[in-house]
Amino acid sequence: MRILVIEDEVRLARNIRKGIQTIPSFVVDLSHDGEDGRHLAMTEDYDLIVLDLMIPGIDGLTLLRGLRKAGRRTPVLILTAKNTPEDVIRGLDYGSDDYLGKPFDMGELLARIKALVRRSKGRPDPLIRVGDLEINTSTHTVKRGTRAIVLPALEYRLLEYLAFHQGEVVSKTRLLEHLYDYNWEKFSNVIEVYICSLRSKIDRPFPVKLIRTMRGQGYMLSAGEGHTE
């Protein structure tokens, strides 16, 4: 999952990124002004946007309205020092999905981000099941049958993304877009390497294979029509 944080206090933005990235599911892009933030939000496909309202350039609410007008459905969490009930109501009415006042609690912010992502993916249950594979998105642990599987952050992120979109063919480009932040050099063979590594941990020891390669299209995580390699 890739998150955009638009916040003009550079150090606060860095702290937020630091906090969010303690969860293996997320990578974070930062933007420090409205103009740049709008550009990123319109051109990149983010899974969530954390938006400060008082930002230089375009103010947060205008940015949000522009985003919704353009048909963008990205969940938006407003994070701002303006937190009177009127501010909150206005923020939500402008089309944001959640609203959090500063100073905030990092744990709460992370929980809200996770909840928003779950809801936007249509999977409100933090426990995702694919056949006998269980992915706990709250504790970031993976279990298949009775066996716990330990995954490095990037592999977990890949698996979680596929699990959120299970039964769907996910292209390599899409995976690259959602698993890495803006600063990464994107080589598509990286995905193949991680899929391979993931398969060795998730599928190889088990008779039923869950990760399927759709030639020329991408990958799919699915419990249906399990086949042996």
């Binding site: 206090e9 150090r11 906090g19 100073p103």
Partner: protein, 480 residues
């Protein structure tokens, strides 16, 4: 002591007393007038009777002809009234040569005024055997019986006891006294009632004013039902409320602004600490977070310092004093301390300090205020001007104080922003990008610090495009 006590007397009582005294005075005058009028009427009627009696007595004096002796022709019943035991009437008849013709037995002695009276008619009070009498002396001429062309002089004295009259008057006085005391009692009650009723609007006003609390300062006293002379009072109270409300509002606004503005650094601090705790231990990253935290803590500290300094200066009423040499020295030191920053920014500072300083001049400020103001004005100039600019600091002093001018040839201030320049939390660059640092409190605090001690900070554009801040600092010469 006495006057203080009087000053504390309740207004209603004072008012009642005044009304009462006024009424008592009027009543008293009225009573006295009635009494004296009655007395006069009584005496007039007595005098009238006396005169009639004297005249009728005179008709009894007869003289046949020249050389004859005058005689008094008395009837017995006339004599009776002169011989009754209790306060008899008195009389005496004297003929022209002063010879006593006849007098009543009860008359102890003819009062001297009878002989000395030159007038035709004279009334006089006197005492006879210890009793009060009033008598009349009539001098008149009568015709002789047998020779009507000739007359002779008779002086008739007639007196009656004033005792019945005195008793009557006493009765009247008693009646008037009763009337007066009842009147006083009524007027006393009336005065109380009048002052109580009269002060009712004042009490209502007090009640209404008493209801106003700090939370309801927007309430105003209605002057619609007030008597006209209480309207200025209500107006003054409303005026006071207005000012109070403004002050309260400003205070509240400031607190809320400060709290609001404090949130950002506090949020950064908190998130930084929490992120550091969430992240796996990595000594380098942690050090960086800690460094950032330190910067924020310093900002918080600076803000708190400023707020505290301002609060302190506002709270303590005493007047600080700073010798002009020290004042200039503080400014010079502050300026020199900022030279490094200016160099970093690519600008330079030029100072101009006076050669001659008035002797014994003391500035109405203190060292920390001076430092804060100089620091703020010079720092602002450096921060808002770009490379190659020059910030000029000019200090001068005269007998009534001194001024510090900070001017630059930077981009200046947008005319639209000038109005907000000294408002709290205003930043000329709306972006809030904190590249220049500060909270937008600096100028507001500086101006407050200057104004607390009767000084002022003013802005004016500096041709061709820079800005110019002038701090006027009040001072006075003190001869040792």
């Amino acid at each position: 002591m006495k006057s203080e006590k009087k000053g504390r007397m309740r207004l209603s009582i004072r008012l009642a007393l005044l009304v009462f005294l006024g009424q008592a005075l009027i009543l008293g005058t009225f009573a006295a007038t009635v009494y004296f009028y009655c007395r006069k009427v009584f005496y007039d009627s007595l005098d009238f009777a006396l005169e009639a009696n004297a005249e009728s007595l005179a008709t009894l004096v007869e003289k046949e002809d020249v050389g004859e002796h005058p005689e008094l022709e008395f009837a017995d019943e006339v004599m009776r009234r002169f011989s009754r035991k209790k306060r008899p009437d008195l009389f005496a008849v004297i003929i022209n040569d002063g010879q006593l013709l006849e007098k009543s037995k009860s008359l102890e002695k003819i009062p001297p005024f009878v002989h000395h009276s030159d007038n035709k008619k004279r009334f006089q009070n006197f005492r006879n055997r210890g009793r009060h009498y009033r008598g009349v002396v009539l001098s008149l001429s009568r015709k002789m019986e047998k020779n009507p062309d000739r007359t002779f002089q008779v002086r008739v004295f007639f007196a009656s006891s004033t005792h019945p009259l005195g008793e009557e008057l006493e009765d009247i006085a008693e009646f008037i006294a009763w009337f007066y005391s009842v009147g006083l009692l009524i007027s006393f009650l009336l005065a109380g009632l009048i002052s109580w009723r009269g002060l009712a609007p004042l009490r209502r006003l007090a009640l209404e004013t008493g209801k106003i609390r700090a939370e309801s300062l927007d309430r105003r006293l209605s002057s619609r039902q007030l008597p006209r002379d209480l309207v200025p009072l209500a107006g003054a109270v409303n005026n006071l409320l207005e000012r109070l409300e403004t002050a309260f509002e400003r205070e509240r606004q400031f607190s809320s602004d400060a709290a609001h503005e404090l949130r950002t650094p506090v949020t950064t601090l908190k998130s930084g600490i929490q992120a550091a705790l969430l992240a796996p231990p990595d000594s380098r990253a942690d050090r960086r977070v800690l460094r950032d935290l330190l910067v924020d803590v310093e900002r918080l500290e600076g803000l708190c310092d400023s707020l505290l300094l301002m609060a302190r200066e506002t709270a303590n009423g005493n007047t600080p004093e700073l010798a002009v040499t020290e004042w200039i020295e503080e400014i010079r030191n502050t300026m020199e301390g900022l030279e490094a920053l200016a160099e970093e920014n690519g600008s330079r500072i030029v100072g101009k300090f006076p050669d001659q300083i008035p002797e014994g001049l003391f500035m109405k400020t203190d060292a920390s205020c001076t430092r804060r103001i100089a620091m703020n004005l010079i720092h602002n100039a450096i921060a808002h001007c770009g490379k190659g600019t020059t910030v000029r600091v000019e200090v001068d002093s005269g007998e009534s104080g001194g001024h510090m001018i900070v001017r630059d040839d930077g981009p200046g201030i947008d005319p639209e922003d000038v109005y907000h320049l000294f408002q709290r939390f205003f930043r000329a660059d709306q972006s809030r990008a904190r590249t220049t640092g500060g909270f937008g409190l600096g100028l507001a605090i500086s101006r407050t610090l200057a104004r607390i001690h009767e000084g002022e900070i003013q802005y004016s554009p500096e041709p061709p495009h820079g800005s110019r801040f002038t701090w006027h600092c009040v001072g006075s010469i003190r001869h040792p």
